[in-house]
């Protein structure tokens, strides 16, 4: 997801420092980004000059100190409050006081994440939608301590990215995932119960509702491992049974069937190209 957000920012003209602890992950993301932008050129949506400029604005690093000159930091790691606090605590030591931090969390409370950031007043929620490089929506959520100045600056930054911000309250799952996670779990349970195959369910939902993707096509993009984290976070916060992680997801994770990124999820894939590329 971070790679998609980085594309959005770089495409909008911002210099982007992409941080990951793994050089291999950075290289993989860089390759996928190149493929995606190449396809954009082939489709006439991006000029070759803009492609090259966009790629040049993306600077990968495995050293957190390289983020010291960033004015805006968007955290997009996995859904674990402790891990987010650990990362944000390090960033707080590296970045200047005026730097605004944002979290791409889709389920965890912005106020709770901000509480471990060292700068709760300069912290907002910015939830991009998958695939971030194609979807315009960003759910913007203030924490209880977010200052008005930070909120306005983050909103303006989001618009400068070319995205469409929507204000949501700091409640579990905001709007999108509050509805999406249980809907996906319901679909998984239909497969578990033998009501229909994943392929037939995708066919049905697209044809009946005019959706561009079936639930399992989207789940394979999200990843089984991420779906489990989302479920655990949502269920832990809401206790709503539809948010509880279906056993099939746990078995798929154990089997390595994570989705598109592993070549097999509910569907099979013969490549790991970024969606849309």
């Amino acid at each position: 997801m971070g790679a998609g957000i980085a594309i959005v920012a770089a495409r909008a003209g911002f210099t982007v420092r992409v941080f990951d602890t793994s050089r291999e992950a950075l290289d993989r993301a860089h390759g996928q980004t190149g493929d995606f932008l190449e396809k954009s050129v082939a489709r006439g949506k991006l000029s070759p000059i803009d492609r090259d400029a966009t790629l040049a604005r993306l600077i990968g690093s495995t050293r957190i100190a390289d983020l010291a000159d960033c004015e805006f930091v968007i955290e997009a790691i996995y859904e674990n409050l402790t891990a987010k606090h650990d990362l944000l605590g390090q960033l707080d030591q590296v970045c200047p006081p005026e730097t605004i931090f944002a979290s791409n969390t889709s389920t965890i409370s912005i106020t709770e994440i901000a509480a471990g950031s060292g700068r709760a007043d300069r912290f907002v929620g910015m939830h991009f939608c998958l695939p971030a490089q194609l979807m315009r929506l960003v759910e913007m959520s203030p924490g209880l301590n977010t200052s008005d100045e930070t909120w306005r600056a983050a909103w303006a930054f989001c618009e400068a990215l070319g995205q469409k911000p929507v204000a949501t309250s700091d409640t579990p799952g905001f709007v999108l995932n509050y509805f999406l996670i249980p809907y996906h779990n319901d679909a998984i349970r239909l497969v578990e119960q033998g009501v229909a195959s994943a392929a037939d369910i995708d066919i049905a939902m697209k044809a009946a509702m005019g959706y561009s993707m079936g639930p399992f096509e989207l789940l394979d993009l999200v990843g089984a491992d991420t779906q489990k984290l989302l479920c655990d976070a949502m269920f832990g916060l809401t206790n709503e049974k539809r948010a509880a992680c279906p056993p099939l997801i746990r078995r798929m994770i154990a089997a390595g069937h994570l989705g598109k990124k592993s070549g097999r999820g509910f569907h099979h894939y013969d490549d790991s190209k970024m969606f849309g590329a």
Binding site: C129, M135, R136, L137, E139, K164, V166, A167, T168, S169, T171, F174, V175, L176, Y178, F179, L180, P182, Y183, D186, A187, L190, Q193, G194, V195, A196, S197, D200, I201, I203, A204, M205, A207, A208, M209, G210, Y211, S212, M213, P215, L218, K241, R242
Partner: protein, 209 residues
């Protein structure tokens, strides 16, 4: 040879014309379709497809394996409330239904220009099983003040590429109809996620006056 289509009353799947479908079979549509199942099943064609509303196929042919009913499948063209029917045919079979009959029925509907999804004989089939709890959650969260109906719709349309938000969709196709379907599934499944939300209950009560 075209499929023989028998309309026995008002049909939710085919309110107007029925497109020609290739194959050796019979499609029984309309409210009285079940009354002519046994006669059609004895004709020896590749399949008999009987239109379903909210009921299961087992309601018409029982739950026990039977060579006479092994070529009978159920179908429903998905349709939300008062909207026009979609292009989706949900094709229902029992675990003992003849696989060739399912394949023949699927080929016939696809030959008629429909998209076909196969499923087991369970309440709500695929689409209603997935959208009714979702619609109820949307209506409940609207009451909770999560966001306005317009903002909720905008978020779901922009975020997921939905062609229409759930609130606008329900307003257009009928909250009372949602109540009807959801209440049937609540009864069949015993799951309170299908309990019609307050707004749907009010719409249904007002429509019933």
């Amino acid at each position: 040879m075209p499929v023989n289509v028998i309309i026995t009353g008002r049909s939710r799947s085919f309110p107007k014309d029925v497109p020609p479908m290739p194959g050796s079979g019979t499609v029984l549509a309309g409210t009285a379709a079940a009354d002519v199942i046994s006669g059609a099943a004895k004709a020896g064609l590749d399949f008999v497809a009987v239109e379903l509303n909210n009921e299961c196929l087992g309601h018409h042919i029982g739950l026990d394996a039977d060579p006479i009913t092994a070529r009978i499948v159920g179908f429903a063209r998905f349709r939300l409330g008062t909207a026009d029917p979609s292009n989706l045919i949900e094709l229902v079979s029992m675990d003992w239904t003849d696989e060739d009959a399912v394949a023949a029925a699927k080929a016939a509907f696809e030959g008629g220009g429909f998209v076909v999804a196969c499923c087991a004989d369970r309440p709500g089939r695929i689409v209603n099983r997935l959208i009714r709890p979702y619609f109820n959650a949307v209506l409940r969260r609207l009451d909770d003040g999560l966001a306005s109906a317009a903002d909720m719709d905008k978020t779901l349309m922009l975020g997921l590429g939905y062609p229409e938000g759930p609130n606008a969709l329900l307003a257009r196709t009928g909250l009372a109809d949602h109540h009807e379907v959801s209440a049937v599934l609540e009864g069949a499944l015993g799951d309170n996620d299908f309990t019609p939300a307050r707004r749907a209950q009010i719409a249904w009560q007002r429509a019933s006056k």
